[in-house]
């Protein structure tokens, strides 16, 4: 992604000139040209296997397996030449012979590399196998509870075995062939998957041998994909959010490591709490106007007395943090700012960071004077803080959450802005509905310091608003003009002060 300075190779694919960062394979050049060559065994996360032959093309006059062939400068590639088409057909005929004809009942519902390959190649004669239903799936403890196995769908592409052996470094799966028979996928029950990467197999497998039990396989033609970033930890994996009428259905990898951890794949699952979609004040549903009035009436005395504490979340987007920081720190309206972050210190390689705060790096810049949340109960008891404003999504219940709820129960004034009806909402005097990362524009700065854009899949649900907008409204009621009337204002503010937090493509 950031290889702008890397040397580039020029290649001609079917008459189209493409530019690919060096080093590259012929397959990558074909993909860049949109030639529609389907590779079954090659996957960006595993070293190329070259076993299936479904990506054969003519490069500089020779039929080659595109996934294995290094791209040379000024290569001339022909994907539609007769020799390549015939070679692909023959290879696919062998692959298809191992696969049942069960497309109409298969739970992959079209998310199938083999199907794409067969549809894009001319016909190949194949034996007639007809299935009306797939046999019930078996699941193997070695792969965790969440993955169902349908071994009969395996075409022997070796993606999963090389992923297990070379990326996860666990000899979990192997393909065993008896003479005269197709190779069979064998699970080594002695081994256990050592990290939360079971669901990665569901994205890796081109034919649906591995299926997630809890995350439903949705019909992919009904969904649209929006590029975004996973909010689960400081790694900040780039993801595609597949959504259908504003409903998040499926998450897949968008570059980076080319797979995700299980937490990422589980993003579409329902959260532990229901959504908070309307403002609540004193236990009753009220309008935004009333809620803002109530909140400002509660917070103004503490602000004047210098006893206002603000809690910000390290899972909030940079734009929200910018508004909170402008309100609490730059204008010095809060006595103390606390950071709500969750760092359990257990990195689970290769992807999961120990830091569960997606935007920790931005907090470090925007709220460098903020203190850890552990300080809040002490300040509350000491009376230096009498009113607390909590802004930010709490996507999951972190450890120590119960203790915090307990401490905040003693706060004389508590105003909360939250995505969900979490345990803070009932004890708050006023609660505002907040838009989650899927419903607002924003950005996360990952642990490596790269800002990455979040794009909304829908408008905010119910009466929810993005955090920066809420802060702007609240500050205005409190007599402070932040001047953040739209995203451009927030963005301009950030660009002037912290340009490193803004991605170039952020609009």
């Amino acid at each position: 992604m950031r290889s702008l300075s890397a040397p580039a190779l020029l290649a001609t694919v079917d008459g189209e000139v493409v530019r690919v960062a060096s080093p590259a394979t012929v397959l990558q050049a074909c993909e860049a040209a949109g030639a529609g060559v389907v590779a079954l065994c090659a996957h960006d996360s595993v070293s190329s296997a070259g076993t299936c032959g479904s990506c054969q093309v003519i490069a500089n006059g020779m039929v080659v397996r595109a996934c294995r062939e290094p791209l040379r400068a000024d290569a001339v590639i022909n994907t539609r030449g007769k020799a390549a088409v015939v070679a692909r057909r023959q290879a696919l005929a062998q692959v298809a012979a191992k696969h049942p004809s069960a497309c109409s009942v298969c739970h992959q519902s079209g998310a199938c590399g083999l199907q794409d390959a067969l549809a894009r190649s001319a016909p190949v004669p194949s034996p007639a196998i007809t299935l009306n239903a797939l046999p019930a799936g078996t699941h193997s403890d070695a792969l965790g509870d969440e993955v169902v196995l349908h071994k009969e769908l395996c075409v022997g592409c070796t993606r999963c075995t090389s992923f297990a052996n070379h990326v996860l470094k666990v000899p979990l799966l192997s393909l065993q062939a008896e003479p005269g028979h197709a190779p069979v996928l064998v699970v080594n029950e002695e081994e256990k998957l050592n990290a939360p990467y079971a669901l990665a197999f569901t994205e890796l497998c081109p034919t649906g041998v591995f299926t997630a039990k809890r995350v439903p396989q949705t019909q992919r033609w009904t969904t649209q994909a929006t590029p975004s970033v996973c909010p689960r930890c400081a790694t900040g994996c780039p993801v595609w959010l597949h959504h259908d009428h504003g409903q998040l259905r499926r998450v897949s990898s968008r570059g980076g490591a080319h797979f995700l951890c299980d937490e990422g794949y589980r993003l579409p699952l329902p959260p532990p709490w229901p959504r908070l979609s309307v403002p609540v004040a004193g236990g009753a549903v009220v309008s935004w106007d009333r809620a803002l009035d109530a909140a400002s009436a509660l917070l103004a005395p503490a602000m004047k007395a210098g006893t206002l504490g603000v809690v910000l979340s390290a899972q909030a987007s940079t734009f929200d943090l910018c508004a909170i920081s402008a309100f609490a720190i730059e204008r010095a309206l809060a006595t103390r700012t606390y950071v709500w972050a969750h760092n359990d210190g257990q990195p689970l390689p290769p992807l999961v960071s120990g830091d569960k705060s997606a935007n920790r790096a931005a907090v470090a810049v925007l709220a460098n004077r903020a203190v850890a949340l552990e300080q809040l109960p002490i300040d509350l008891n000491a009376g230096t803080v009498t009113a607390v404003l909590v802004v930010g999504p709490i996507e999951l219940a972190p450890p120590g959450f119960a203790a915090l709820v307990q401490a905040l129960q003693n706060a004389p004034v508590l105003v909360v802005a939250s995505v969900y009806e979490d345990p803070l909402v009932p004890i708050a005097k006023v609660a505002f509905p907040l838009a989650p990362f899927t419903e607002t524009q924003g950005s996360f700065v990952n642990g490596a310091g790269h800002p990455q854009a979040l794009r909304p899949v829908s408008a905010p649900q119910g009466d929810a608003l993005p955090g920066w907008e809420l802060i702007n409204h609240l500050a205005r009621r409190l007599g402070v003009e932040l001047g953040f009337d739209n995203l451009t204002d927030v963005r301009g503010h950030l660009l002037r002060r912290h340009p490193s937090l803004i991605e170039e493509s952020q609009t």
Binding site: D14, P100, S101, C103, G110, L118, A119, R120, A128, I129
Partner: protein
């Protein structure tokens, strides 16, 4: 056609302000969109002085349904259904134009079976006849000649029964497919056509007598809204409207597709570009289209009507039942649509109202990056604003009818 003057004052004020005002005794007049001829799709705001039009603002967009945005997120084959709603008077011509564009993008236009091309020409030219009958009938009605209108509507009803027998439903028939047409003609279709065509010729002959020899019709059309050839070119006019101005343009002759160069037909040209010429050109095109259909039927040779290429044509049922790949290919086509390699194409066909162009850009995928439709009605409607001034209010409706602005195509 209620004069605005008697309505609320500020509206009339706004209206006049919006028009290039000639000052003096001008009056704002709004035609449509609820007007029997403008059919809810166009509003014409006129500034008139007495009977004379001083300025005209033709406003379209009331039927805007986002065709291009929809096409960018739909599979190529599903857009075929939407494309037929562009010009809903001759849907099959649109579908054939779009199918040809995608086939050119796929590089398979030379492989389409000849019988499929002949069938596309037959249903396409019949659609053109239907379109011209509608246009001319409406024009006759707008000038008070209701007998000609009834004759033509009767002919169109019979023609649509023929099209229905060949293609399926009367409107929005999913008949044209990528790679050919959906099915062959029914057995008795050709005899039904042979029974129909003399009747159509007779009706065209009778209408020509009824209108062409009617001094009132001639008075009301000759010299009205005349456009010279250079103006027609500069304004992007195509089709019968341009040909009435003497511009020799017909995509069927200039860049033959669907084997149009096999047929012997004439392209009628007008001299003055006035309403009379536009009427006369369309009348002659009725006869020429009938000629083409008769030749195409004569040249029908047995053979398949759909290309056998599973990358964009679903495999036949017998193949699907026995071959694994065919079931996979069918599901892939049904769920995602055909894959189109990277490339771009500008493909023009001669639709009933002029050049129907599709500009499609693919970056390699099942959805186009861009699917532009160059609609003939859009350019023709633009000309109306320019040509109406200096003419009488009573000429607006027949001129609009003869330009044949079809809302679905103009607004997309």
């Amino acid at each position: 056609m209620a004069p605005i003057k008697h309505r609320r004052k500020e509206r009339a004020h706004r209206l006049v302000l919006d028009l290039p005002s000639a000052g003096g005794d001008s009056l704002g007049l709004v035609l449509g969109p609820s007007h029997p001829v403008l059919r809810g799709s166009t509003r014409i705001v006129l500034e008139v002085e007495g009977e004379a039009i001083r300025a005209a603002d033709v406003q379209v967009g009331l039927l805007h349904r986002g065709f291009e945005k929809e096409a960018e997120s739909s599979p190529y084959d599903q857009t075929l259904l939407l494309v037929e709603r562009l010009n809903y008077v001759s849907p099959l011509l649109n579908a054939a134009g779009y199918a040809l564009a995608v086939e050119r993008l796929l590089g398979v236009q030379a492989d389409i079976p000849l019988r499929a091309l002949r069938l596309r020409v037959i249903v396409g030219e019949l659609s053109r006849i239907g379109d011209h009958l509608t246009c001319l009938g409406a024009t006759a009605l707008s000038l008070g000649a209701s007998n000609a209108f009834y004759l033509m509507m009767d002919a169109r009803a019979r023609l649509w029964r023929l099209l229905e027998a060949a293609a399926g439903p009367r409107l929005g028939a999913p008949y044209i497919r990528l790679g050919g047409v959906a099915r062959d003609l029914p057995d008795d279709w050709v005899s039904a056509f042979r029974a129909f065509s003399p009747g159509l010729r007779r009706i065209v002959w009778r209408v020509d007598r009824l209108l062409g020899e009617n001094p009132m019709f001639r008075e009301r059309t000759r010299g009205i809204c005349a456009i010279d050839a250079a103006t027609a070119r500069g304004w992007g006019l195509t089709g019968p409207v341009a040909r009435a101005s003497g511009v020799a343009c017909d995509v069927r002759k200039d860049a033959p597709y669907f084997a149009y160069d096999d047929y012997d037909f004439d392209v009628p040209l007008g001299e003055h570009g006035d309403n009379w010429d536009r009427y006369a050109v369309r009348m002659e095109e009725l006869r020429q289209s009938l000629r083409i259909v008769e030749q195409a039927i004569g040249r029908l040779s047995p053979g398949p009507v759909l290309l056998d290429d599973p990358t964009f044509v679903p495999p036949a049922l017998e193949v699907r039942q026995t071959q694994v790949w065919a079931q996979a290919a069918l599901q892939s086509l049904a769920t995602q649509g055909p894959f189109v390699p990277a490339g771009e194409v500008y493909s023009a066909t001669e639709a009933a109202n002029g050049e129907l162009g599709f500009f499609i850009v693919s970056k390699g995928g099942t959805r186009p990056v861009k699917c532009r439709v160059r609609a003939p009605s859009f350019a023709n409607a633009a000309m109306l604003s320019h040509i109406l001034p200096t003419h009488a209010v009573s000429d607006v409706v027949p001129t609009y009818c003869l330009f044949n602005v079809v809302g679905g195509e103009c607004d997309r």
